[in-house]
């Protein structure tokens, strides 16, 4: 089905800018991610990571530059547009409705219904169970229990499973391990690896460089809304990335002027 040559990035941002009044959240940012790879997106608070995600997800409209999906320029005006392209975002706060159950959350906003608008619960329930199983999420007792009753790791799993439910091509994960303990972090990182192995393009946004170095293939560093650089994981180390995050690279003296 997917005839995209691997040389074309799944998603490519060219010179993307986004302003909030006088604040320039993104200034001419380039970014790319390809099928089957985990691209980490790192940067300090205010670097523009969340803004970039929301631009791609259609929550914000971009003020300048271009977004290309599989080589073609696209306009993303809302979450539905992003979903149509096959882009899913797992937000840091997970965007789950506590009082709704796992199935209801998985299909929220995209419910399957019959011609008289009755929800098709059985197929939704079955596919939810299958998707969780395919991601080796086995700790959730019932897909009919409210999300409020789940642990942090389970909630994260539901959010990730929702992102892969739709045969997507690209998944953004915003700080997926920030609120998790050691064992649950392990589960989620395994999940991230598995997504890339299934051929998806994965973008991992994280503060945790240990996690980043464990699962990412490449690392994009943002600082104050600008590109610092893209690093191959195998050709860099944590020190270099930390320096890029804090001072920008490659010229540390420039950072001194800005600060």
């Amino acid at each position: 089905m997917n005839a995209t040559p691997s040389s074309t990035p799944t998603l490519e941002l060219r010179e993307v800018s986004k302003n909030f009044g006088s604040v320039q959240a993104l200034q001419g940012v380039d970014f790319e991610v390809r099928d089957g790879e985990v691209m980490a997106l790192v940067g300090d608070n205010g670097a523009g990571k969340s803004t970039l995600i929301k631009c791609v997800a259609g929550i914000y409209s971009i003020d300048g530059g271009q977004i290309l999906f599989e080589g073609k320029p696209v306009a993303i005006h809302g979450p539905k547009d992003a979903a149509k392209l096959g882009i899913e975002v797992v937000y840091q706060d997970l965007a789950l409705c506590d009082n709704l159950d796992v199935v209801q959350n998985m299909y929220l906003g995209r419910e399957a219904h019959d011609p008289v608008f009755r929800l098709r619960e059985a197929p939704m329930e079955r596919r939810t169970a299958e998707t969780l199983k395919s991601l080796s999420v086995t700790t959730i007792r019932s897909v009919r229990q409210p999300v409020a009753t789940l642990s942090g790791g389970q909630r994260q799993s539901v959010a990730v499973a929702r992102a892969v439910l739709w045969n997507n091509k690209l998944v953004f994960l915003d700080e997926p391990t920030a609120a998790l303990g050691v064992a649950q972090t392990r589960q989620v990182l395994d999940l991230v690896t598995r997504l890339a192995e299934q051929g998806l393009a994965v973008v991992l946004v994280s503060h945790n460089l240990v996690d980043v170095f464990e699962v990412a293939n490449r690392i994009t560093v943002l600082r104050l809304g600008r590109n610092v650089g893209v690093y191959e994981k195998d050709k860099t180390n944590e020190r270099e990335i930390v320096e890029a995050i804090t001072f920008g690279a490659p010229a540390p003296e420039e950072a001194g002027v800005e600060a």
């Binding site: 997800a57 929550i59 809302g78 979450p79 539905k80 979903a83 975002v89 937000y91 706060d93 997970l94 965007a95 789950l96 409705c97 506590d98 009082n99 709704l100 209801q104 929220l108 906003g109 995209r110 419910e111 219904h113 608008f117 009755r118 929800l119 329930e125 079955r126 596919r127 169970a129 299958e130 409020a148």
Partner: protein, 341 residues
Amino acid sequence: MTSETSAQPARAPSPLEWIRRFLAAPAVGPFLALLLTMAFFSLKSDRFLQGPNLSLVLQQVMVVGVLAIGQTLVILTAGIDLSVGTVMAFGQIVMTKFAIDQGFSPLTAIALGILACVAFGVLNGALVTGVRLPAFIVTLGTLNIAFALTHIVSKDLTYPPGTSGASTLPSQLLFFGRTFTVGHTEITYGVVLMFVLFGLAWFSLTQTAWGRHVYATGDNPEAARLTGIKTWRVLLSVYTVAGLMYGIAAWLLVSRTELGDPNAGQTTENLDSITAVVLGGTSLFGGRGTVIGTLIGAIIVGIFRNGLTLIGVEVIYQYLVTGVLVILAVAVDQLTHRRRL
């Protein structure tokens, strides 16, 4: 869509599981409260459990019940509607005045009355979604606007003017006050309509995507938006449907009282509709509750008013009891579902 996959069929739940599910079901608490209330009043009064009295309770409940459907929808989205009573009053004045004074055909007059209520619903919804004002303030404002309009339009007169004895209103306006008999008990068509509306509301809320979006919008509006739900559209539809319910309630009230009264809907309807919703287990924080619970809650409120009258408690104490009841119900809900911080 993926083709057939080999998923194992769902296991049949064990009896123990059924009991657990039963106790965890949302409307079970309210239902037990209803049984307790009925037991109490049947011990206090022999007449309480008799068919004619229960039929009377339902007749008294039908107006508040239909109002409470609208109120449930609004509260599920974490809003509140204080304008229910006066909007309904405005609707019934429009209906009766247009039918009598302006010479409109009865059905046109009814449609105009309902439309007036829908317009108020749209106004509430537009202010809540478009201007992003709190529902509490918006509906407090429209409460007073509807109140004023009711008195301006009616010139403080009831319709038909000087009513005493048989009503001169066209029969269509009184249709839902008509009865049919089952056994020896008379049941009004209005009560039947109320049950039908509850059924429709139940279907829409539990079996359709729209209903799910209503819950999601009340539960976590930000999450709902991020999944692509147009929450403003959901909210607007909720307030509009609520207005429609108030319009239908206006028709029911005219059928029941056989007049259009500018002073209707000012005292008990607001509190009673909110009490019914809260007694029915719907959370004031939105996203949790059922319309079946609301039906039970409305019946509990009706039974309290009826039962207290039967055992000779003065009307003013009914207000006292309902006031205590609504606070108690919210407190119980709060203690059993503490919000995580």
